[in-house]
Subunit: 370 residues, 2 copies
């Protein structure tokens, strides 16, 4: 797993220590924000996010994959290497599963100091109905050998990150890769994947942050050592500095978000709400766990009330919640926080890390009631 040659020296943005709260943004952060796309939070109203509103994070470029020329190669420490066309994959057993996916960097720009990268606030989420064939069956057909400890997934997107020229690659332990819900997905919301979501095939790992669900999947390789490529060791880590390795990022933390109520101001996104009974609603999710409680505050977190919960869309997808608020004229900060089935509650203050990973601080929405 040697790294490829180092890229020529490229400009460095920031000094790695982050940017003070409230400070302005680097042009490079803005250019990333214009390429990658969040889900406008009013789309929390849909059980299934329309394809064009699902969040999207693409490290390099969206590759130009011609499905007729494409094959999925399964190799490494397997007894029977496989090479499969899209048609062959479509003939295998098919599973359809609504899954809530979230970027590991969601909430990065709300951290203080702010780590410099894609400046997500809270919108790097979405729930799609993914369909494909279970990875496990394919690995069983290939016969993963006993000395394999990880499965390495290689996408067709290529570029430079951390001065390393690379294909986008991530690995899973054999045990995680063999879980029944892990799919090789070729459909999103009943249609072939759009190019930006990984056409013709992506890995789909429910419960994990999105970096694990490798898009434009071309290679699956059983390996004997932990994969130490850039996307495993140079990023997607909980660490206190960019030089420290820290713990790997894996499962999605518990989170609730609300549909911002009322109407927005174009530039500031401050909300205007009419006085009277206002329904505050949204969604909550917790990776592989259930959401056991959602609480709402209308006074900036001083006091909290329980929201009512609807049924989850699937075991790996968000569930709806709602709260009736008697809104009287004034200025308010609405907050929402969820608790998962193991008792983990969203923090009121963000926990900092150098890459801006896994931030699930409770959402705050400024509202003006008239």
């Amino acid at each position: 797993m040697t790294r490829e040659k180092t890229a020529p020296d490229l400009p460095v943005v920031g000094d790695g220590s982050g940017v003070a709260p409230g400070a302005e943004f680097y042009p490079e952060e803005v250019r990333l924000a214009l390429r990658n796309r969040g889900m406008p939070l009013e789309a929390l109203r849909y059980d299934i996010t329309p394809v064009g509103m699902h969040y999207l994070l693409v490290h390099f470029d969206i590759p130009d994959v011609i499905a007729d020329d494409w094959r999925l190669e399964v190799g490494g420490l397997v007894s029977r290497p496989l090479s499969l066309s899209l048609e062959e994959l479509r003939k295998r057993p098919k599973v359809t599963l609504p899954v809530t996916m979230e970027c590991a960097g969601n909430g990065r720009a709300l951290m203080a100091p702010r780590p410099v990268s894609q400046p997500w606030h809270a919108e790097a989420i979405g729930t799609a109905e993914w369909a494909g064939t279970p990875l496990r069956g394919l690995l069983e057909d290939a016969g993963v050998k006993d000395d394999a400890i990880e499965i390495l997934f290689t996408g067709l997107d290529r570029g430079v990150q951390g001065d390393v020229v690379q294909w986008y690659q991530r690995s899973l332990t054999v045990q995680e890769a063999m879980r029944s819900e892990v799919l090789l997905s070729y459909e999103m919301n009943g249609r072939p994947l759009e190019p930006q979501h990984g056409y013709p095939l992506r890995l789909l790992v429910p419960g994990w942050y999105g970096m694990t669900s490798v898009k434009w999947l071309a290679g699956i390789e059983a390996i004997a050592e932990p994969f130490e490529g850039y996307q495993m060791t140079g990023s997607y880590r909980y660490s206190q500095s960019l030089d420290e390795l820290g713990e790997p990022v894996s499962l999605i933390n518990v989170r609730a978000l609300m549909v911002p109520p009322g109407i927005p101001d174009f530039m500031t996104r401050v909300r205007l709400v009419a006085a009277g009974t206002a329904t505050i609603s949204g969604r909550a999710w917790a990776g592989r766990l259930d959401v056991s409680r959602v609480d709402v505050s209308t006074d900036g977190g001083a006091t909290w009330s329980k929201a009512s919960l609807g049924d989850p869309v699937s075991p790996y997808a968000w569930r709806p919640w709602r709260f009736e608020w008697e809104a009287k004229p004034g200025r308010y900060t609405l907050c929402v926080r969820a608790t998962d089935s193991e008792g983990n509650e969203q923090p009121l203050e963000q926990r900092w890390n150098a890459h801006g990973m896994g931030n699930n601080v409770c959402q705050r929405v400024e509202v003006l009631v008239e």
Copy 2:
């Protein structure tokens, strides 16, 4: 056409004079960039942009429209007011037309000083295959009276802009509204509109910047005076200050863009290209006009060479171009500029205006050849 009540005082971002070149971005600009979405420029490879990659600018929130409850009301100075369901609109004559749409603010963030709003660089574009029924037939059925001079279009998106609480509204002269290519569109790329693109119905005005193609269309009204609402007089103007009215923004200016060649660096988006023959390709468009020429420079604009042109996708859509480049090791600034059939050429230096409208400065892409 009186304005609705003024909104309560909301914070103002910037002083209206713009921000110095190269300076950092306000948090409000970043939040807009995270909601609105550009087309990643590698998608210039497609004749028709996939729905989820088409640019999107939404002033307020994406409204929650239930098609069964929705009707299009046609009234004002007409002999026979109409009220039509989506089904009734779908039974009318259907036209399908590929159209290149561009946001009037595309390129705003490249202006110096930078006007403060959605910080588009060059990605606010897309070409979709729109289908719907011609507006003209509907207006003829309604019988627009002789004293009507404009047609006013009202969308279901509501919010505050310029301290004015408003539904999104734009008007066209009767003459423009009667042009044969103007559609009431209910399909994009062969499917019902996704919510963010105006479901169930949007106006589609080929050749005009996107602000004219009102989404979530609910009302059409023939009126006797020019409409002076915020989106006609408070924005979408070529002016030298926010207080000056200036000329209205209307048709799309000539522009060419290239697919950035090679592979990108994640953070800086600098491109690495292998030495040898590199094909530089992209698209060019000019609103209602044809593109007559595309020129490429590999030395930052000092010298130019003609690119070869392919056929337009439709009379209102972009055409492809390509250029073979013998790339030798070094650092380069690639540029592209188009000329339209009336001899208008993209400027090498941007022409400033206070709202950041209609910027069609030639694209510059930094490339490192190894």
